[in-house]
Amino acid sequence: MIKVDLTGKNAVVTGATRGIGFGVAKALAMSGAKVACIGTNEEKLKESVAEICAGGGEAKAFVCNVADSAAVSEVASAILAEYGRVDIVVNNAGITRDMLMRRITDEMWDDVINVNLRGTFLVTRAFVESMRKGKWGRIINISSISGLIGNAGQANYSASKAGVIGFTRTVSKELGNRNITVNAICPGFVDTDMTRVLNPVLIQGIKDRIPVGRIGSPEDIANAVLFFASPDSSYVTGQVLTVDGGLIM
Amino acid sequence: MAADRKQIEAKVIEIIADQLARDKEQISGASDIANDLGADSLDLAELMIAFEENFDIDIDEDKVGEISTVNDVVDQICKVLDSNE
């Protein structure tokens, strides 16, 4: 884990229950930040928070579906009441509903766009005022290589992730003069529950094409998040960093 | 039976030597248990218990404060033993 001192910073991580979000929440907490963990599965979320606390980190569980505007407002109020100020937001919550485009239903399209893209917008909007007041902020959006190069079977997912990149660039322009940076990370193939459901033969095929020769871990992504969250990365904004072991280039 | 003062003194010195990890030769009747032999308040309390157990007597709590030298201890023990007769 790269060493970054985030003591005194308050962070929000969406989709913090498992996978990349949990890895990011752990890394932020171990770097000294207080972390509000947002997720939908209350029981699992609380277990993840317990794990962070067991390691001496400071974290708290907040149950919320990021696609639900009213719920996001409510949870944002609760988090701001708890921490007073939010400095770092990591928009990580994401879902897949994979299917060939011609078979994607309206519902499958909306579900993915609503969590991945609308959720990113809702959560960012909810905390941006606090960052403006604090004159310091770090917004880190988790996109995907799928949003950069497309992926057959993921029309909805790749559209949502490409949308996140456009959103990142625009918001970085709007907030740059407020000492708030906005960046996106495009993970490649990372070992999480989301990818574990895939066919092992397919996974081996992908692995064979990764120059560094291994599947990524949530910690690999967390390290990139730590860089963007660091006070020392203040001159980097509107950027899209691919963290994929060299899979696409 | 009048207590044999010499015997009692020897026994007292033996107990003190053991308790305070001292050589018997370093201890005489005139030795001040606290100042010369380095006993602290807990040692003194422990010593009183040891005297009581060894001579099968009870030393009056009020009299403990009057004890400072080995001779004081021997006097006190003789007095109690005599009064017990």
Binding site: M30, A50, E51, I52, C53, G55, G56 | D18, L20, L42
Partner: protein, 413 residues
């Protein structure tokens, strides 16, 4: 910024002896420190075996006067602590005494002394109860005596979380150095509960092995035929030091304390949570707070006491925390050799783990002849195994639901 914490001294008192290298050799060779109880006061109960430090004497480290004032449990930590300090080469007279500490874990304190003085009270009355009763039985005496010996004026206290005491003590010590409050802490754990009450109390819980006719076979962690733990006694004390402080005085660095995980089951006072949710959280946290991933851990010194429920719960916790890596990490329980040192176990087990790193060898789990099907991980049965070891985790889970796991590694710049 957080300070790095290294280990510069280690000392132990165990049923296999008090000489570090000799104990380590015996452990690797599969020697057992479990022996029959011979004292007629002690061998009349259900469990008639223990890991006893039979040849232990606090002399010459204390004189006969001090010996009477210090209970056996604190004598163990005193001797182990002095040896650890000797190895570290620290001269405390040259240190800022307010930046030094002594934090020692112990499960029950002076149990034997409680029994002796209680018997005296019953038989001879209040006036015959020793004035040293309280200063002997209080479990914080272990840290106090070390502080007195070395003129330590910073933080000193005892930690009591039953069998997790030593790990909790070391975790506190680590945090105090990491956060810049202290430079040096003498820390670890100690226990001397092979006494009437210790034997009767644990036996009443049906926690102790009753394999009395085969003492060396009695401690059988993860084995299908295990029937409880074998009570042991001893201490493991280490010198924790801030890295730059250690470097400045040219200390030999024995390893680095990297991270920890602590949690509490909050379910039952003695039974472990069967799913190992919180124990697993502590185990997992020890790994990631060290900045490591599960696949980087080469060795787990398990809690592995050989109770029916405890071992299975621990396997669950390891699987939870390590996922797919649970099958590939080398694990062993050194309690199979020396018994369960209760509050002293974590200190001794971290020392063993650091030696495992030094020598790249996994100490064995003795008596694991017929593995419990529910304990299907690599527990290094019967014989030591060579393996490159860079990072370790050592676990302790205490009655009361206390989970405390520590992570350490070979020191590299």
């Amino acid at each position: 910024m957080k300070k790095r914490v290294v280990i510069t001294g280690m000392g132990l008192v165990t049923p296999l002896g008090c000489e570090l290298e000799a104990v380590w050799k015996k452990l690797l060779e599969g020697e057992s420190g479990i022996t029959p109880l011979v004292d007629p006061e002690l061998n009349c109960f259900r469990s008639k075996i223990a890991g006893q430090c039979r040849d232990f004497s606090p002399l010459p480290y204390v004189d006969s006067k001090e010996e009477k004032r210090i209970d056996r449990f604190a004598q163990f930590s005193y001797v182990a602590g002095i040896r650890a300090v000797e190895e570290s080469g620290i001269d405390f007279s040259k240190e800022n005494p307010f930046r030094c500490g002594a934090i020692v874990g112990c499960g029950v304190g002076g149990l034997g002394e409680i029994e002796r003085q209680d018997a005296k009270l019953d038989k001879c009355g209040a006036s015959r109860v020793s004035p040293f009763t309280i200063p002997k039985i209080m479990l914080n005496a272990a840290s106090s005596h070390l502080a007195i010996r070395f003129g330590i004026h910073g933080v000193s206290y005892g930690v009591a979380t039953a069998c997790a005491s030593a790990n909790n003590a070391m975790i506190d010590s680590y945090r105090l150095i990491r956060d810049g409050d202290l430079d040096v802490v003498i820390t670890g754990g100690t226990e001397a509960a092979v006494s009437k009450l210790g034997l009767v109390g644990f036996a009443a819980m049906r926690a102790l092995s009753e394999r009395n006719d085969e003492p060396s076979k009695a401690s059988r962690p993860f084995d299908a035929d295990r029937d409880g733990f074998v009570i042991g006694e001893g201490a493991g004390i280490l010198v924790f030091e801030e890295l730059e402080h250690a470097k400045k005085r040219g200390a030999r660095i024995l390893g680095e304390f990297l991270g920890y995980g602590v949690s509490t089951d909050a379910s039952h006072i003695t039974q472990p949570d069967s799913e190992g949710v919180y124990a697993g959280a502590a185990l997992s946290a020890a790994v990631f707070s060290a900045g490591l991933n599960p696949e980087q851990i080469d060795y787990i010194n398990a809690h592995g006491t050989a109770t029916k429920l405890g071992d299975v719960a621990e396997v669950g916790a390891i699987k939870r925390a390590f996922g797919d890596c649970a099958k590939s990490v080398a694990i062993s329980s050194t309690k199979s050799s020396i018994g369960h040192l209760l509050g002293g176990s974590g200190g001794v087990e971290l020392i063993f783990s650091l030696l495992a790193i030094r020598d790249n060898v996994v100490p064995p789990t003795l008596n694991l002849e017929n593995p419990d099907p529910a304990c299907n991980l690599d527990f290094t049965p019967l014989v030591a195994k060579e393996r490159r070891i860079k990072y370790i985790v050592s676990s302790s889970f205490g009655f009361g639901g206390h989970n405390a796991c520590v992570a350490a590694g070979a020191f590299t710049e």
